[in-house]
């Protein structure tokens, strides 16, 4: 019988087992809808009050050839009743929709973890594509895990039969069947998902009904199925809500948080936003999000290339709006000359870099932190600019506001670093109260000041005036050629170039007086070991330090937001530790900058596999350093 199920590790049907935290990974073909399944399971975790972190991991190919190893798309979620900072090291439960998904993911599963497999897809053809000589569901090769397999494809077809869908359409409901099963396994309410399906397929009620039927069938299967000879039931677990500060929460991805933060920053600055973008993975979602926010004074422009995207943003800044552009490493490389122009003309500009694996095209959908050198140093000439790095999807909101503040207050381009992980991952976000944010309104010069108008005169922060074309009496010309001090006229003289270079450096260095001191986010401000991170390594570093401290080790976690200029107290803070380790997803870029700036013996801890750090990897480094 097609729906026959097999179970290797029978458990008795009983009340759900309580767990503190669970890691689940859904993996299937890139067309199987695993990202959607994961996203909705995330929502259900949020509504159940769990803390969580997610990690979507998908191929660069939109619809890779069916059943192939490189076409596997996965979504991991770690949810729990305690603080969750990472998507989890190793899954407790792995749901696989085909042999390729099993092959590429099973090695990550915890020993004794649970595999749920769609046996209907374990055909000879798919097994061959996944390079299996024998069906792993039918031999002992998965012996160290629990295995439950049944024909999800067939069960889905049966469930949606009444709706008269074609074979292909019917099978596309498989992911909802799987989600239904997962909802039962973790004791979750189906209603929010049903509401979402009704909304998503509002224009096609048959599809909505079919998907809901699949969802319900998966749920019912979990509840009733007696699997295997022993008549055992599928194990059910319950995760209590996490304690959290009171307030309104929502889930947020980094891409949405960037968009909202930029809008918020522009409101606090009192300027309109012009966003020039060009499609690139994983940064396009920022362009998508902003293009729907026109009522907030946002103009979006999909330019002909990365260079035009930033050049148009610079033009808009010259015109009196805040120019913003966004890309990923290869696109940032193309924008580099224009970034230099923005530094030279001292116009405000925000450049968002959603970093991905490099070099060149690299790993478009995988995450990496290897553009720190590019951000801090990567231009011709002495061309300093501020660099800010976000640590998590929700942190990007505040970082984007900070980028707008610095750009507009100091008349400078600012680079905001996120990465593919932050852009795509979701986490719970306590919705901030905007009335608690202090505005930083910009002032456009609109009259000839006493002593005459000089376009390159300076305020006490060394910022030059921002003048909107259209203002009478303040006509002036700017450009990429070296400027004469004050007047902005072309000037190639040695003394003037030295002076202007010093001013540009002094202005950016001086921003350090207008940013917060570096804090220690876990542990003491001095001691045996500091783990110094930046960007999306926050979660694993934080958890690793927490675990090491729980074992009594003297280790602290410092996490930088301001990469350039660095906080004034950072040098002294680092020197108050015997050892400094810098974990980063590159070959040691922040480590090099810290050594250069402070002559500290910062040691690297590097990973450039396209995957985030595991907590255990960092914890091992801590324990080794303190052994």
């Amino acid at each position: 019988m097609a729906t026959a199920a097999r179970v290797d590790a029978p458990e008795n049907h009983s009340a759900p087992v309580n767990s503190e935290a669970v890691v689940v990974r859904f993996a299937g073909d890139s067309g199987d809808g695993m990202q959607l399944t994961g996203g909705q399971f995330t929502l259900s975790s949020a509504l159940a009050g769990n803390d969580f972190a997610t990690f979507p991991d998908f191929p660069a190919e939109i619809r890779a050839p069916l059943g192939t190893l490189f076409g596997v798309s996965a979504f991991q979620i770690n949810f729990g009743s305690t603080e969750i900072d990472t998507a989890g090291d190793a899954p407790d439960v792995l749901v696989v929709m085909n042999p390729a998904a099993l092959k590429t993911n099973v090695k990550d599963l915890k020993p004794g973890g649970l595999i749920i497999a769609d046996s209907g897809e374990f055909t000879a053809r798919n097994l061959a594509k996944a390079e299996y000589d024998a069906n792993p569901l039918e031999d002992d090769s998965l012996g160290k895990w629990q295995l439950i397999s049944f024909n999800i494809s067939q069960l889905t077809m049966d469930a949606v039969k009444p709706f008269g869908l074609g074979n292909k359409e019917a099978l596309r409901c498989k992911n909802m069947w799987t989600l239904g099963l997962a909802l039962w396994m973790f004791d979750r309410d189906r209603q929010p998902i049903i509401d979402w399906l009704n909304e998503k397929f509002a224009k096609n009620q048959v599809l909505a009904d079919a998907n809901i039927a699949a969802l319900n069938a998966g749920h019912a299967y979990g509840e009733t199925a007696e699997i295997g000879q022993s008549g055992a039931h599928i194990p059910q677990r319950h995760v209590d809500p996490a304690s959290a500060e009171p307030g309104l929460y929502r889930t947020i991805t980094g891409a949405d948080a960037v968009a909202y933060g930029l809008v918020a920053g522009c409101q606090l600055a009192g300027v309109k936003m012009f966003f020039g973008g060009y499609p690139i993975t994983p940064a396009s979602s920022i362009l998508h999000a902003l293009s729907r926010l026109k009522e907030f004074g946002v103009t979006t422009f999909q330019a002909e290339d990365e260079i035009a995207a930033i050049a148009s943003a610079i033009g808009a800044s010259y015109s009196g709006q805040l120019g913003v552009t966004s890309s990923s490493g290869p696109g940032i490389a193309l924008k580099t000359e224009a970034i230099g122009l923005a530094v030279m003309t001292e116009l405000p500009l925000v450049i968002v870099n959603s970093q991905r694996g490099g070099p060149s095209t690299g790993l478009p959908t995988k995450t990496e932190q290897s553009d720190l050198y590019q951000s801090v140093y990567g231009r011709n000439g002495d061309t300093p600019l501020p660099v800010i790095a976000a640590r998590s999807p929700s942190d990007v909101f505040d970082c984007a506001i900070e980028a707008v503040r610095i750009a507009t207050q100091f008349m400078t381009p600012v680079i905001l670093l996120t990465d593919g992980y932050i852009a795509n991952a979701a986490e719970p976000w306590k919705v901030p109260d905007m009335s608690t944010y202090k505005p930083f309104p910009v002032t456009f010069l609109d009259h000839v000041p006493e002593g005459g108008f000089k376009p390159y005169s300076r305020d006490n922060k060394l910022a030059r005036p921002w003048v909107k074309p259209g203002t009478p009496g303040l006509l002036h010309r700017i450009g990429g050629i070296e400027k004469q001090v004050d007047t902005g006229h072309i000037n190639y003289s040695p003394e003037n170039h030295q002076l202007m270079t010093d001013i540009r450096k002094g202005k950016v260095d001086g921003i350090a007086d207008h940013i917060p001191d570096q804090d220690v986010c876990l542990g003491a401000a001095g001691g045996k070991l500091a783990m110094v991170g930046w960007g999306s390594t926050f979660g694993p570093v934080h958890q690793a330090v927490r675990r090491a401290r729980a074992k009594g080790l003297d280790v602290s976690h410092i996490h930088l937001r301001h990469i350039w200029p660095m906080p004034r107290n950072l040098g002294d803070l680092l020197k108050s530790f015997d050892k400094v380790i810098v974990p980063e997803m590159n070959t040691g870029q922040l480590k090099t900058v810290l050594r250069d700036q402070y002559l500290v013996d910062a040691k690297p801890l590097n990973k450039v596999s396209g995957q985030p750090f595991r907590i255990a990897e960092i914890q091992a480094a801590i324990e080794e350093a303190l052994a």
């Binding site: 309104l248 929460y249 929502r250 918020a264 009522e295 808009a316 015109s319 224009a338 074309p469 259209g470």
Partner: protein, 337 residues
């Protein structure tokens, strides 16, 4: 009640800056600068609402010499910068100044997209068929066989035709003139009057690296080889003794003799600036067998890009209150008590 600020009438000298002009003595750019400065008062422009945006090259120093707002950007990117300038403030009168290398080589992509989008601006391409500021290498408009420091044995690639490129990119206004032509002011006025991207190719004599390359029709003795086009007027040149007619068999243009001024009998075409097909033929006429077509070759406005962007921004914003708190609070939310 609205106060009407009387518009101060400007004179050409009001558009000059205090900056020393740094082009080579005798450069055609001087004449173009003068022509632009003479055009400004005639079109009723105001300095504060005028922005000149340029790229890199000899021509691109232009903004420094215009008493307006100005932005000397980076090589090839003036159209992109200008797009941001105009979208952020559509009230500004935007002029782009570029050269053959800037607009057609390093910046060819931006030129194409600006023209197809139809940003409301004037695009002046100073074509001297050479790279001047880098000391004389051949350019994308240099004729085959051009000897230069980078092509000591002559260039082997075929040149681009700027006006054909512009039409092919979807430009709705295409005109041609040359640096010292007395008609340049009228051409610039027509370009300004056109709502949308107005592309003007200005042949410019580089006296140092490519002198007299246009002498075949700009020298006094050769000016009978200029065909000045006027809307509604027959396409006559050489003092009215020759004209352009249609070869109905070959479906191409041909040069015909006009006897006793009877151009109708000779079949000379009456210029219609909205005829795109004829415009394509006019810009492609090989010089020598044909005269050089000048003036407004094509002028048929369409809605502008900036107008469409602003209209959509307004349409989708109307009736919506920009409530940031509401925006960040939406989606599927939950409350922790």
């Amino acid at each position: 009640m609205n106060d009407m600020t009387p518009v101060k009438k400007t004179a050409p000298k009001d558009w000059e800056t205090d900056q020393e002009v740094r082009w080579c003595p005798g450069c055609g750019d001087y004449a173009i600068l003068k022509a632009v400065q003479r055009t400004m008062p005639e079109i009723g422009a105001t300095p504060e609402n005028t922005v000149f945006v340029s790229g890199i090259g000899c021509s691109s120093r232009f903004p420094y010499y215009m008493e307006t707002y100005g932005f000397h950007t980076i090589h090839g990117r003036a159209p992109a910068v200008a797009t941001g300038v105009k979208l952020a403030n559509p009230d500004l009168d935007v002029w782009i100044v570029s050269g053959d290398g800037d607009a057609l080589s390093i910046g060819g992509n931006h030129t194409m997209h600006l023209l197809r989008r139809n940003l409301d601006c004037q695009f002046l391409l100073f074509n001297n068929e050479i790279y001047g500021l880098t000391k004389g290498q051949y350019s994308p408009t240099s004729r085959e066989g051009t000897r230069s420091p980078s092509t000591p044995f002559g260039s082997v690639d075929r040149p681009a035709t700027p006006c054909a490129f512009a039409l092919g990119s979807g430009a709705r206004f295409v005109a041609r003139t040359y640096d010292v032509a007395k008609q340049t002011v009228d051409v610039l006025k027509a370009a300004h009057a056109h709502k949308g991207a107005a592309f003007v190719e200005i042949f410019q004599n580089c006296i140092v690296y490519n002198a007299d390359v246009f002498a075949g029709f700009t020298e006094k003795a050769n000016q009978h080889q200029q065909l000045w086009l006027e809307n509604g007027k027959p396409m006559l040149f050489s003092g009215g003794t020759k004209g352009i007619a249609m070869d109905m068999k070959a479906l191409t243009l041909k040069v015909v003799d006009v006897l006793d001024g009877d151009w109708e009998a000779a079949g000379v075409i009456v210029h219609d600036v909205t005829n795109r097909a004829v415009a394509h033929m006019l810009v492609e006429m090989p010089f020598g067998a044909f005269p050089m077509a000048m003036g407004v070759l094509y002028d048929d406005p369409r809605p502008t890009f900036d107008g469409a962007v602003i209209a959509q921004n307004e349409a989708v914003s109307s009736g919506k209150t920009p409530d940031l708190q509401k925006l960040i609070s939406k989606g599927q939310t939950w409350t922790v008590e």
